[in-house]
């Protein structure tokens, strides 16, 4: 006799439930119970669970039906989702593949000076530039230059796309409180959902060999800070200055381009810095779904327990992270300095 039998007969639902004598094992617990010959349910929680209810009434779901239901629902929606999402995201694959090809095809004697020049242009700081040059040399020294470039190409594409989408979304959020309220929970979700979890539906949707698979995973994870900080930055713009802009008859576009975006720039740059860091954090996980780069070596280290391979690749990622962080931070302080608050 199961615990809730009386409840269902009291409600007159025994008929509807069907016979509960069906002794076919329905769950692992049932099987275990049959084998052990003991009562399956331990002490009951005050909240009825699907499995407990099911014991008394066949019509009620089991908990595993919930997970099954989600899966079946997703699989049912998959063809539609795929026909819509596939063409939309296809350019991402092209961009990732293109960038990868470009970064690999570019000979080092162009690529390395170019990277150093970009560092100098962005940071205008001699120590930072020297650090970048030395780090690249170190990577090359342990033959990790090529994989590092692969990783860099992925980060380059994903960060660019994050900024291209994140800044406008952030602007829209700063304009409308309602939009902000509806987007913030979504951003919280994207930031807290374990990163492996959004790989699963993506694997269902796209083929594992397509580069957009990891591209989407990285972008979804990394776009959050740039959205948040763009919104924050625009909301923090001095109200007096906005009032002056209004008083001199600026329209919304002029206000955005001439006042809000320039004054929010330090915050937006901080967001971009975070976005770069977060996309780098996703690189290892993305290598699970065929993203090339340093992550692959880390993964090899884990799979084959090749300690050295994993650690060298890991340090390579750290170096890359420090390079990207220092350059973008130096650029940020440079922007900050030119607009000292009065």
């Amino acid at each position: 006799m199961a615990f809730y039998d009386k409840l269902f007969s009291a409600l007159g639902l025994s008929e509807w439930c069907g016979t509960s004598d069906d002794k076919a094992p329905l769950s692992l617990a049932d099987l275990a119970a049959q084998a052990g010959g003991e009562e399956a349910s331990g002490p009951l929680m005050p909240i009825p669970s699907f499995d407990n209810l099911h014991e008394s009434c066949n019509r009620i779901w089991q908990s595993r039906d919930v997970t099954n239901g989600i899966e079946e629902g997703f699989l049912a929606a998959k063809p539609v989702l795929k026909t819509v999402l596939d063409p939309i995201t296809q350019p991402l694959s092209w961009m990732l593949d293109g960038a990868l090809w470009l970064f690999e095809a570019m000979p080092w004697f162009i690529m390395v000076p170019l990277l150093v020049a970009i560092s100098w242009y962005a940071s205008r700081s001699r120590p930072v530039t020297i650090f970048v040059a030395v780090s690249i040399m170190l990577l090359a020294l342990v033959d990790h230059y090529d994989v590092a470039m692969q990783t860099l190409s992925i980060i380059f594409v994903c960060t660019t796309i994050s900024v291209l989408f994140g800044v406008p979304i952030g602007i829209a959020m700063s304009k409308s409180d309602r939009f902000q309220k509806s987007v913030v929970p979504l951003l919280d979700l994207l930031q807290t959902l374990p990163t492996f979890v959004y790989l699963i539906p993506l694997i269902f949707l796209f083929s594992v060999t397509e580069s957009k698979l990891y591209g989407i995973a990285i972008i979804l994870y990394a776009i959050v800070p740039v959205i948040r900080l763009t919104d924050l930055g625009i909301r923090l713009v001095d109200r007096d200055v906005i009032e002056a802009a209004n008083a001199f008859g600026m329209n919304d576009r002029q206000k955005l381009v001439r006042v809000q975006l320039p004054l929010a720039l330090p915050n937006i740059m901080a967001g971009i810095n975070q976005t770069i860091m977060m996309s780098l954090a996703m690189v290892v996980i993305a290598s699970l779904v065929s993203a090339p780069g340093l992550g692959v070596n880390v993964l090899r280290g884990i799979r084959n327990l090749e300690l050295g391979v994993g650690i060298v690749a890991g340090i390579g990622i750290v170096l890359l992270a420090v390079i990207l962080d220092r350059v973008s931070k130096a650029a940020l302080t440079r922007v900050d300095k030119t607009q000292v608050k009065h």
Binding site: D238, D240, V241, E243, A244, N246, A247, F248, G249, M250, N251, Q254, R258, V259, P262, L263, T338, Q339, V340, K341, H342
Partner: protein
């Protein structure tokens, strides 16, 4: 009388979600405290009627919370009124479309702010040229006009500095240059000099009067400082709790305050320095010029200078001249009488 440049009539502003619904309470005479206690709405402006004449400086004075900053923001509708009319150059600002309003803000009214509100990422030159570039003028025109007005306010040589590199007084000069570059007939100045230290403030007041002498703009100036108000005003409006306590010619208000609130204000200032001969002289009105006059004085001399001139002797009398014309006589006894503080203000307006 010619049409005023700006006319505010029956202007009400109530802050709160249901401002239109509680308006009739205010119109029926409900005060600020009652409104807040009973309906949770804040009374900003209460039946404001002011005419601002072209070419004059209208000063709106009141303590903080009296609604003066709210009032000035109604003129260019940075704040929307609950009820009332705002007529600028014969045109109802309330009827303007969004584009029309923007146009009016660009072409008719420029504003100077207490906290300067310059763009920190732009140079002084670009800041001053901002109103023109907003209108879509080309860069050369903007820079030329901006440089012209920057020079006029004494800032030539600073064109390529950033606002943060300048002192407060210089930043506000940029603010004034920006308003002048807009070349609008009306200038709104919201406590423009309140954030500056006293000496610089005096400089800026002199600069404003000097500019006004040649430009003849219609200036609406907000301040909490009576000395500043009396120095600048052609027309003085005194605001308290959102309604106009008294308005008129400043000298007249000084001599005939109609409210303990104003008497209290007025008792603090140096009357001899503010009052002028014209306000207290005895008009000639066909009467005879006294033979024993000790000399001639100008109508616009201050009483302070008269005391210095008479050496403190109250028996003296003077003939008052307006240019070439003799317009009245001034008896030093009357002058001293005018300097006597009003009794009411001593009696206790302050304690109340």
């Amino acid at each position: 009388m010619t049409q005023p440049m700006v006319r505010l009539s029956g202007l009400y502003k109530i802050f709160g979600a249901r401002d239109k619904d509680v308006l009739h309470h205010v119109q029926d005479g409900m005060g600020k405290e009652e409104l807040l206690a009973q309906h949770g709405h804040v009374l900003g402006l209460n039946n404001i009627n002011i005419d601002m004449q072209a070419g004059e400086i209208t000063v709106v004075m009141g303590l903080s919370g009296s609604g003066k900053s709210t009032l000035i923001r109604h003129l260019n509708r940075l704040i929307e009124p609950t009820a009332g009319e705002i007529i600028v150059q014969g045109e109802d600002v309330m009827q303007l479309s969004e584009d029309g309003l923007r146009h009016a803000r660009q072409e008719k009214m420029s504003m100077v702010f207490q906290k300067f509100a310059l763009l920190p990422h732009k140079t002084v030159l670009k800041n001053a040229g901002m109103p023109l570039s907003v209108r879509g003028e080309d860069e050369t025109t903007c820079d030329r006009e901006a440089a012209k007005w920057l020079e006029r306010v004494g800032l030539s040589g600073f064109e390529n500095h950033y606002p943060a590199q300048l002192s407060g007084g210089m930043q506000q000069r940029v603010g004034i240059a920006r308003a002048l570059t807009a070349n609008t007939p009306i200038m709104l100045m919201d406590e423009a000099f309140s954030a500056l230290d006293p000496l610089i403030r005096t400089d800026m007041q002199d600069l404003l009067l000097e500019l006004q002498k040649e430009l003849h703009k219609t200036i609406i100036f907000i301040t909490h400082d009576l000395d500043e108000a009396l120095k600048l005003a052609d027309h003085l409006v005194i605001l308290k709790d959102g309604f106009v306590v008294q308005q008129g010619e400043p000298q007249h208000i000084l001599l005939n305050p109609n409210d303990p609130y104003i008497e209290d204000f007025v008792s603090d200032i140096n009357r001899a320095r503010v009052l002028r001969v014209r306000s207290i002289m005895t008009p000639l009105d066909g009467g005879k010029v006294p033979k024993d006059a000790h000399g001639e004085v100008d109508v616009n001399d201050t009483l302070e200078s008269m005391i210095a001139r008479s050496g403190g002797d109250t028996s003296h009398a003077y003939v008052v001249k307006d240019g070439e014309q003799t317009v009245g006589t001034l008896d030093m006894t009357e002058l001293v009488r005018a300097l006597v503080p009003r009794v009411a203000s001593e009696a206790g307006a302050r304690q109340s």
